[in-house]
Amino acid sequence: MNRFSYLRASSVDEAVREAAADPTVRFIAGGTNLIDLMKYNVERPERLIDITRLPLDRIAETDGGGLRIGALVTNDAAAYDPRIKDRYPLLSSAILAGASPQLRNAATTGGNLLQRTRCYYFYDPGTPCNKREPGTGCPAITGRNRIHAILGTSEHCIATHPSDMAVALAALEAMVHVAGPDGERAIPISDFHRLPGDRPEIDTNLRHGEIITAVELPPADFSRHYTYLKLRDRLSYAFALVSVAVALRMEGDAVAEARLALGGVAHKPWRDPEAEALLHGRPATRDRFIAVADHILKDAKGHEDNAFKIDLARRAIVRALSQAAAGTPQSQTDKRIK
């Protein structure tokens, strides 16, 4: 861990202004990931701006009938908020599939989106890593890659994004509101995280000095037919090998609208609108689900340890769509898979 200076920001403007002036700054809120990374010498910020006192901890109705979740709302508060449980149960479920109660009590909405990959090599400064030290190489490609990506990888990086919450947000087409030196803007969640390409050190499209202020959920009608199915190497407290967020709007036996996002398989929550369209207006059958899965995974590429994730993802997609269509979402407390 390095030495750093610390500023407690009293306003969003102050936080943005201070951050913009300093390229080595990091915002800190719950700190559940940043502190670990600092202890491992992966993150070495010279300055921390504590944003926990900013007034970003409310969940509010939007004029359009959606919800706006402040960036500092904890994962726990969001998951158990009655409005979210009632209207966006997919989000609640995805949050509860992740981490532990202790971590969810501290982790925030904005921080969850900005958590960094769990790639073994990224976490170990004794090894090369293009994400940690650009240009040093990616030993994961030929090394241990059980937890790595099968979609959207590059020759420079095969890391995955670890968030469960973000996968649900992708399916719900949330907007990420940010404030920065150039004012405020809203970024669709699908454009928020990026693929590694030849700049794997950059996780998101946030610009320097920008701070997440809120995540907005548009009005939605997915509270009956949804699921968050997370498959992992133990039944709790592990990052996803594959996770699937599904939100369906059903009309009779047919799917009127389908949203599907995958976690644990790519550098960002993975959406495939073409595959989703295969369901629109069609009856919810297993064959259809298989067609959707095949479409999503047609370009999937496995490595030595993680090739099994392609088949696993196919199976998970089919199961998750079945759960959602049947209106029997996966429980996050009873670990038995439905």
């Binding site: 202890k39 498959l231 133990r234």
Partner: protein, 745 residues
């Protein structure tokens, strides 16, 4: 009538429970010292080569940094290898931290940064610049397999495979039924909750009081004395509480060396705590490639057992454990051939991990036996009964006691085994396939020479002391029970003191031998106090016991009573007053009986039953029920013993389904070196675990009939789960852990 102070064999709460939950119990890194300095270890990045240059200047420039120790400025230590050998060292040249510029494994400590505060030391450690010249390394056992060798020098206490008997190859070739397979258990790291740590308190006279995370305070003490050339009086190791160890604390680890070195050089107190990732930079449970061939008659009776193991060790030491001796110990067979070889990989030396050898060897054998059950169509329990070993055939000895048959019977009844349809995939509940499997567990009942002291004072308090540790097993509690019962005192009047190198000599805590060894020593010391006390009581004026022999009296509630007339009694205080003493002290040694060991084999046994539910499509496995029936002689405390078995079973579930230290062979480095990615079972993975202690009369091993319960809970568990998975799915996986990819693949 319930005898007063009859504690042995009764469920008792941990005497140290309150101290542990209130935080009063202090662990190695929690001891404070005036002017304490903090050391942080800098870990090496390459697997093999040399340190071309090491530049501490940036670190040294940080105000508050006291010193950066490297191979270039380390103080002189002992010259000869034997000075670095500890009580449990395998043959070879023990690792010497900061010895020279050679790098021999990835994660090797290359510097120790010592500073005024933990934070400063951590910061400065990140500023030490190390440049390496790399040599080619090899960490892949498969590629070293052809170079495997029989260890030329045997490790003390580890039985080599017995010589072949009969003609195993010929019998296998002609056997009507054959099972042949290769079995593996992944590399595991112990990962106790408490990381390794040493707080070295530097005394004004230069003496050291060391709080070390160790399974043997005296082992650490003698290591430090011999490596640093100190007299034993200058080094005092005090380790009253250990937050789990599972074998990782059997040898003095490098943080002890580094903390002592820094304290001696700086002449001040120093603490060094390893980080979780550094917990992956010393010993581990070695990768073992096991090949098993079982030949049998159509009725399942074995005609040939061949079991070969090739195991990793380091280039500098020949680690050894007992992997292949178990099959013939459990099963009668006239044609047996067992081999055990090592192959060197560029890692640290493996170190014993809970049920070393047996955990993996029995996992393989009991998986193969299940395959034989299916190959012959004989029920798995019936198969084991048909091959039941009545004697230790390899050593030609009889067993001191062996209630394994009862384990099978009681466990099967409790589990409901009779209702099992042996057909794979025959049970289903909703989307889940249900499987029932079983396996046998076995572990040697070992006793080691141990000394203990007992001191009775006139206020009716008894203190018993021996140097052994309590790694969470319940040693404090069982020693208190034994002492209280032997002298007829309430447990509250007894204090057990352990974990201190100045106490009577005890071996490291391990091998499930502590209860038998330190328990016997404490009992003997208390008996000696009893005799002295009785002598004083008889000599008292008008003593009602004057004509009694010690067999005619009982010790209860602080009194000596005549059995024939319980009203006639003498209090301990009266007896001591009459004898003119304020305290009665005795030190005794308990040793294993040589004659017993020559004539008998002592083992604990278990039958373990597992129920799994498998989501076939997704490969998700849940272990919903375990019944473990254990025969381990006298169970001193059914409550703490049950906890031991449950802990062992959970350990076994980890081995069966989750635990794997992943080596990157390109880098020669363990990569999942944290508890997020090295998976041990969490609460959600654990369902019903039932422990049954089968009554077993044991009188030969030691006076109390103790066999120990520290390891037996692990042994067999992985196989029972693997066998249940086969029953559920029809898929046989011979590589543990059985993860999703292996099940779907």
């Amino acid at each position: 009538m319930q005898q007063a102070n009859a504690y042995i064999g009764t469920p008792q709460n941990r005497v140290d429970g309150r101290a542990k939950v209130t935080g009063e119990a202090k662990y190695a890194a929690e001891f404070d010292a005036p002017d304490l300095a903090y050391g942080i270890v800098v870990s090496g990045a390459i697997a093999k080569g040399r340190i071309a240059s090491i530049d501490p200047s940036e670190a040294l420039a940080v105000p508050g940094v006291l010193q950066v120790f490297t191979h270039e400025n380390r103080p002189r230590t002992a010259w000869f290898d034997h000075k670095f050998r500890d009580e449990t060292a395998p043959p070879g040249s023990p690792f010497r931290p900061l010895y020279d510029d050679k790098v021999i494994y990835s994660g090797q400590p290359v510097a120790l940064v010592v500073a005024e505060s933990f934070e400063l030391a951590a910061h400065a450690a990140s500023l030490v610049r190390v440049a390496y010249e790399t040599d080619a390394h090899m960490t892949d056992l498969d590629l070293r397999r052809s170079e495997a060798y029989v260890p030329p020098k045997k490790r003390s206490g580890v039985k080599a495979p017995p010589s072949p008997r009969g003609d195993a190859e010929g019998a296998f070739a002609q056997a009507p039924v054959k099972v042949h397979g290769e079995y593996r258990v992944a590399i595991e790291h112990h990962n106790p909750m408490e990381p390794h740590a040493s707080t070295v308190v530097y005394g004004e006279d230069g003496s050291l009081t060391i709080h070390d995370k160790t399974q043997g305070a005296q082992n650490s003490q003698s290591y430090v004395s011999s490596v640093f050339g100190l007299s034993s009086g200058q080094v005092h190791v005090v380790s009253p509480f250990i937050g789990g160890a599972f074998g990782s604390g059997l040898r003095p680890q490098y943080q002890l060396f580094l903390a002592v070195m820094a304290a001696l050089e700086l002449k001040r107190s120093v603490r060094v705590v390893l980080t979780r990732d550094q917990m992956f930079t010393f010993g581990y449970r070695p990768l073992t490639i096991q090949t098993i061939s079982l030949g049998a008659n159509p009725d399942g009776t074995l005609v040939s057992i061949m079991h070969d193991a090739i195991q990793t060790t380091s280039p500098f030491e020949d680690y050894q454990e007992v992997v292949v001796n178990w099959a013939n110990l459990l099963y009668h067979c006239d044609n047996v051939k067992l081999t055990y070889k090592l192959a060197q990989v560029d890692t640290y030396t493996p170190i014993d991990m809970r049920a070393p050898g047996a955990a993996i060897g029995v996992a393989a054998i009991e998986t193969a036996m299940d395959e034989l059950a299916y190959a012959t169509g004989v029920d798995p329990i019936e198969l084991r009964l048909r091959n039941y070993a009545e004697v230790d055939e390899a050593d030609k000895k009889t067993f001191t006691s062996k209630e394994l048959r009862a384990c099978y019977q009681v466990g099967a009844e409790r589990f409901g085994w009779a209702k099992r349809n042996p057909e794979p995939r025959s049970m289903r509940e909703g989307r889940e396939l249900v499987g029932w499997g079983m396996a046998t567990g076995v572990w040697e009942a070992i006793m080691q020479k141990t000394a203990a002291r007992a001191v009775l004072t006139r206020d009716g308090k008894l203190e018993v002391a021996t140097a052994t540790t309590d790694i969470g097993t319940g040693t404090y509690t069982i020693l208190t029970q034994i002492a209280a019962e032997t002298l007829g005192l309430p447990m509250a009047a007894v204090t057990a003191r352990i974990g201190d190198s100045s106490l009577p000599k005890s071996p490291v805590q391990g091998g499930s031998w502590t209860a038998a060894s330190s328990g016997s020593a404490v009992q003997k010391a208390c008996q000696s106090v009893r005799e002295q006390l009785f002598k004083h009581a008889r000599q008292m004026d008008d003593s009602p016991l004057a004509n009694a022999s010690i067999e005619q009296v009982m010790f209860a509630d602080g009194r000596i009573r005549l059995m024939s007339d319980p009203g006639a009694s003498v209090t301990f205080a009266q007896a001591m007053q009459a004898g003119g003493v304020d305290r009665i002290e005795a030190e005794e040694k308990a040793s294993p009986g040589m004659l017993t060991n020559m004539r008998y084999s002592g083992y604990s046994h278990s039958a373990i039953f597992a129920e799994v539910r498998v989501d076939e499509e997704l490969g998700i496995i849940r272990v919903t029920r375990i019944v473990n029936a254990v025969a381990a002689g006298t169970i001193l405390n059914p409550k703490t013993a049950r906890s031991q078995i449950i802990g062992g079973v959970v350990f076994g579930i980890g081995m069966a389904l989750e635990e794997e230290s992943m080596l990157d062979h390109d880098l020669g480095r363990f990569m999942n070196h944290n508890l997020a990615e090295y998976h041990v079972p969490v609460n959600a993975d654990i369902h019903h675990i039932e422990v049954i202690f089968v009554s077993e009369h044991e009188e030969k091993l030691n006076p109390l009939g103790i066999k120990g319960v520290g390891e037996i809970g692990v042994v067999g568990t992985a196989a029972a789960i693997g066998n249940a998975i086969f029953h559920a799915t029809g898929k046989r996986v011979r590589e543990y852990p059985i993860t999703i990819d292996k099940l779907l693949g």
